[in-house]
């Protein structure tokens, strides 16, 4: 009996093996196709930043040129738009991260009344469509006549939608934080402020940096909320929007590519840093 059963089982397992092999590679091939699909538009953006368009439409490949990169600010308005976007993103990410870190500290460290409400208030802006965020701020600013639409209204809006992201990012790291380290510092005579500065701060610094980068990225990319609250000021996404109506110049692709490269380099850098740190710890 068993002498018959053995070859049958072996055969089946061979069949199963081939099936598993195929299935294994089907998934890999599919995943590679998926990444090709995901990266295709990015490749288009990069490639067309080197295009030499004859008409005003940068849709069809005409020929290679460095000119767009050399004259990255060769389109009227693009330079001031980039500067405004950088200013807003820098200030908004700093303020939002500071406010968000304080909220995260309160939420993770302390039990207090109103915790659930606070959590809700953090969660709601994340789950509200951007157009509603932008529209409601617009109706507020329409009624606050002493504050004209412009730099300040854009900044206020950006800080608002960045806070929740900062809280979520910092909170995620704080949860795994060993509080005994702080207690030890206090036992050794440090007061709350010194403990915070010498112990807490260095430990949560990576989380704060991550929140800063995330807020910066979200702010510099924002179109919808800004569109509703910018008045006559033009950030880079608004510039792209305006340009798209009459045919976006290749300089738009140049700036898009530059932002992409810088962001990816930053991410890779922080990843390498983490990996090295992970190695040092083990």
């Amino acid at each position: 009996m068993s002498s018959i059963a053995v070859p049958v089982r072996r055969q089946r397992s061979a069949l199963a093996k081939t099936l598993a092999f195929v299935r294994y590679h089907v998934l890999t091939v599919y995943s590679l196709l998926f990444f090709a699909y995901l990266l295709l538009p990015i490749a288009i953006v990069v490639v067309f930043s080197f295009n030499h368009p004859t008409g005003k439409f940068n849709y069809i490949w005409q020929g290679f040129t460095w000119n767009n990169w050399l004259n990255w600010d060769g389109v009227p308005g693009i330079r001031s738009a980039i500067i405004l976007s950088l200013e807003i993103a820098l200030i908004a990410s700093l303020v939002a991260t500071a406010l968000g870190t304080l909220i995260a500290l309160a939420l993770v460290r302390y039990g207090f009344r109103g915790r659930a409400t606070t959590n809700m208030l953090i969660f709601l802006p994340l789950s509200t469509p951007e157009i509603v965020l932008g529209a409601s701020l617009l109706t507020l600013f329409l009624n606050v006549t002493w504050l004209p639409f412009g730099f300040w209204t854009i900044l206020i809006a950006h800080i608002m939608f960045c806070i929740s992201f900062a809280v979520v990012t910092v909170k995620a790291r704080l949860v795994g934080f060993d509080r005994h380290l702080e207690e030890a510092a206090m036992d050794l005579g440090a007061n709350e402020w010194v403990t915070f500065r010498k112990v807490t701060m260095p430990l949560i610094a990576p989380a704060i940096l991550a929140a800063l980068l995330l807020c910066f990225a979200i702010s510099i990319d924002d179109f919808v909320v800004t569109y509703f609250n910018s008045g006559s000021r033009v950030t880079f996404p608004l510039f792209v929007w305006g340009a798209a109506r009459i045919g976006a110049p290749p300089q738009v692709n140049v700036i898009g590519t530059a932002i992409f490269v810088i962001a990816v380099a930053g991410m890779l850098g922080s990843m390498l840093l983490q990996m090295r740190r992970g190695k040092g710890a083990t």
């Binding site: 406010l99 409601s136 109706t139 809006a157 007061n191």
Partner: protein
Amino acid sequence: MNFFHRHRGLTPYLLLAPGIAWLAVFFVVPLGYLAYQSLQSGNIDFGYAFTWSWGNYWHAIRDYRAQFVRSLEYAGIATALALVISYPVAYWIAFRGGRWKNLLLLFIVAPFFVTYLIRTLAWETILSDNGFVVNTLQSLHLLGSDGRLLATSTAVVTGITYNFLPFMALPLYVSLEQIDHSLIEAAEDLYASKVHAFLRVTLPLSLPGVVAGTLLTFIPAAGDFINAQLLGSPENHMIGNVIQSKFLELTDYPAAASMSFILMAAILVAVFAYARAIGTEQLTGTAV
């Protein structure tokens, strides 16, 4: 000894105060203003007055029903597509990624590093009338010789699906990553086939990710107007396009405000319907 020691109970509130105040003044209060505005009547030249004008809501639904329905439809299709497209990849990274996991995740979020509008314009290039995709489809006779992709609902849904894909893929990955592999091995030890083990163990355990991804994709997708504007024609306009033009071009604030509220209500209804279908525990499990 110092202020903090004497008022320990106060510390959390002091930490919360600035951020929460910001959100209260610039998130909660504006929603109140939006509600107030939505019940006004009048026009920009003679001013608006608060008149409990509920008619704004009825008119919005009567006149723009098609756009509301289209928004939910496009967002629903795009969300389903994103789920189907990205689940296998999230699975692949979670179970086979090995030491490349972080790098592969970086690929997943790579689209976010290109300005939203610019990547949508890239789709405009890809789907353009003389582009590679249209030419291929035409030569395969899948598209008529004068057929086009731009300015169709296909283009708009394609754009939405692509733009919000990372919102779907990341939560899927997180929930798949957390699955204890010994559970799947146990199922296989107990003679479950691979397919069975997937359907009975892996899939249910990844449901929180499915729910989170669906919500994160559906909510922004339903309010989007950029894809419809850049890739569609007026026939593909979503409610976001109407709200945007009423606010910023036609200055019909009360109508636009009431539509914003209807959009939010519609999204809430859709989310709750979804939550009922899939079980509220899953929803609250991820929301907290």
